[in-house]
Amino acid sequence: MPYIFKKSIPDRIVDIVIYAVLAVFGLATLFPLYYVAVVSITPYTEVLRNGGFLLIPKTFTWDAYEAIFTSGVVPKALNVTILITLLGTALNLLVTTLLAYPLSKKFLPGRNAVLMGIVFTMLFSGGLIPTFLTVKATGLMNTIWALIIPGLVSTFNLLVMKTYFESLPAEIEEASKVDGCSDVGTLLRIVLPLSMPIMATLGLFYGVNHWNAYFGGIMYLNDRDLYPLQVVLRNMIITPSVSQELSVPQSQLSSLPPESIKMATVVVAIVPIIAVYPFLQKYFIKGMLLGAVKG
């Protein structure tokens, strides 16, 4: 696009090379996902026949998915993760917006102090152990809230939202104030409807984060029933005994190679992200550029 030169033969060759390399990179991104899906639907008979997993199996089976969804473990974990993703993201957006909106008002006394206090937390933190002890002390241990409250506001997202609010023309809000609208009303009726793109972007950032939550789960939860999906997934991958992990008798799983079951669980974790991805990428570039402007 920017280059202005006549393309000689070597230039064209370079072009071809570039297109080829990029195509390979694109395929390299897709191929692992494809392979994982293939493994998840390959029955044992195929594996034995071919001495391994084929790239295009001749027969396939949904048994692995049936196994994981009828076990108690995976559906429970899925429910937990869906719950914390929806509830967590809603709270994230609520608190972040309530904090970002006033901070975007340059005339607000004390604004700079609060901003500095918040940005400071990006530079220095108490560390893992003190944070852990704090979560313990605030009574969140072994509850869903331990996966939501400690990460309630992401400073990066907060700053992006603040920048967005600052970019809205001041006249709109002033007009509503002149009409006698309160601060609450202005926020709700004027600013929020204008902020849908940023809400979508940050909602997706927060949401994907919740979906991938793992460390909160292993640090703060003892009750296996509360484990989010990623924790269950990791245990599934590294376990020597899938039947034990799923609490399902081995006899039920005899037609399936353990890898299929493991990969079926991986697929369950990936599919929602892929489903959301088209929406993600629509708002995403805008969101990133906003953040980059700040940075």
Binding site: I4, F5, L98, G127, M219, Q281, M288
Partner: protein, 320 residues
């Protein structure tokens, strides 16, 4: 605004009044805005600032029963234990080496991908490749580990079986100390390059077209234009990112390392954070890991400040 001009009128058009009564009435006027901020501020106070006070745990022989107020004070003993421990040099070495690997081998692919995408004129191809390559960023490391498992599992992995079928013997990627760091870097490249390229693409898009035109008039072909126009255009952003990453050199990507770590690769893979996590959270010995955490926080803070100063020296603007 209306309020400001009213006050200026009342004051006879002189210098605006900044005394207390004005401030208090201002704060009352904006009381809703202050109210809005309360949940967020509470959050930061409790979950970011209170833990900072928890740093004292590093100076105590912390006992869960006695808590912060009751545990005995041991001064610098925990720190002494850390620095004299035989593990510590290894942890530092692993942490720094891994960070540097990730810096060098992680940042360059991002830039190269952006440069290549920038050359593409076929818009649908560019968009497609872009969309595909920044996808993996949104997958969790556990999913990436699962993918690696499907390829490299000792028995049934795709690559493992392939090697065996070809008679090349057993390949042992996931538990091999020699391969561990490269493996971490390669998977990081797969996951992060597309996303990392975005900021360079944005920068590249903002380079003034006139510069290219001027270069073309001077007879510059593709490579000359690349060297004289494109690369200088991204130099500042690149340097800024390098410096920021240097500032966080003690964080070597804890999440990824933890997920891939296993006992057989501790000698190269155990970094400060994974050690803190294991000793502190899993084994519940809080004091010494807390001391390591303090060390990390303080050094990290100094590094980021230094990095920012360095960024300013390079003609950029730092982070603040």
């Amino acid at each position: 605004m209306a309020k400001g001009s009213a006050r200026a009128a009342l004051a006879g058009g002189g210098v605006p009044d900044v005394h207390k009564p004005g401030l208090r009435s201002k704060m009352w006027r904006y009381r809703w805005l202050y109210l809005f901020m309360i949940p967020g501020i509470l959050y930061y106070l409790i979950y970011h600032y209170v833990p900072m006070f928890g740093l004292v745990v590093a100076f105590q022989d912390y006992n869960l029963m006695q808590g912060v107020t009751g545990s005995p004070w041991v001064g610098w003993d925990n720190f002494k234990a850390v620095f004299e421990s035989p593990d510590f040099p290894q942890l530092m070495k692993n942490t720094v080496i891994l960070s540097l690997y990730r810096l060098v081998f992680g940042m360059l692919p991002d830039l190269v991908l952006a440069l290549m995408l920038n050359e593409i004129r076929v818009r649908w191809f560019k968009k497609t490749i872009q969309t595909l390559t920044y996808g993996p960023h949104f997958l969790s490391w556990i999913i990436v580990y699962g993918i690696m498992f499907s390829f490299f599992a000792p028995g049934s992995g795709l690559v493992t079986t392939f090697f065996r079928d070809m008679g090349w013997g057993n390949v042992d990627v996931l538990t091999n100390s020699e391969l561990f760091r490269p493996m971490l870097v390669m998977t990081d490249i797969w996951k992060s390059t597309g996303y990392g390229a975005i900021i360079y693409l944005a920068t590249l898009a903002s380079i003034n077209n006139e510069q290219y035109e001027a270069a073309a008039i001077d007879g510059a072909g593709r490579w000359r234009q690349l060297w004289h126009v494109t690369l200088p255009g991204v130099r500042d952003v690149f340097m800024l990112l390098v410096i920021l990453r240097l500032g966080s050199i003690l964080d070597a990507g804890f999440e990824q390392v933890y997920i891939f770590l296993n006992v057989r690769v501790y000698d190269v893979g155990d970094i400060l954070d994974t050690w803190i996590f294991r000793r502190g959270i899993e084994e519940m010995n809080y004091s010494v890991p807390a001391a390591v955490g303090v060390f990390k926080s303080v050094i990290g803070f100094a590094l980021v400040l230094g990095a920012n100063r360095l960024a300013k020296r390079f003609g950029g603007s730092g982070i603040w």
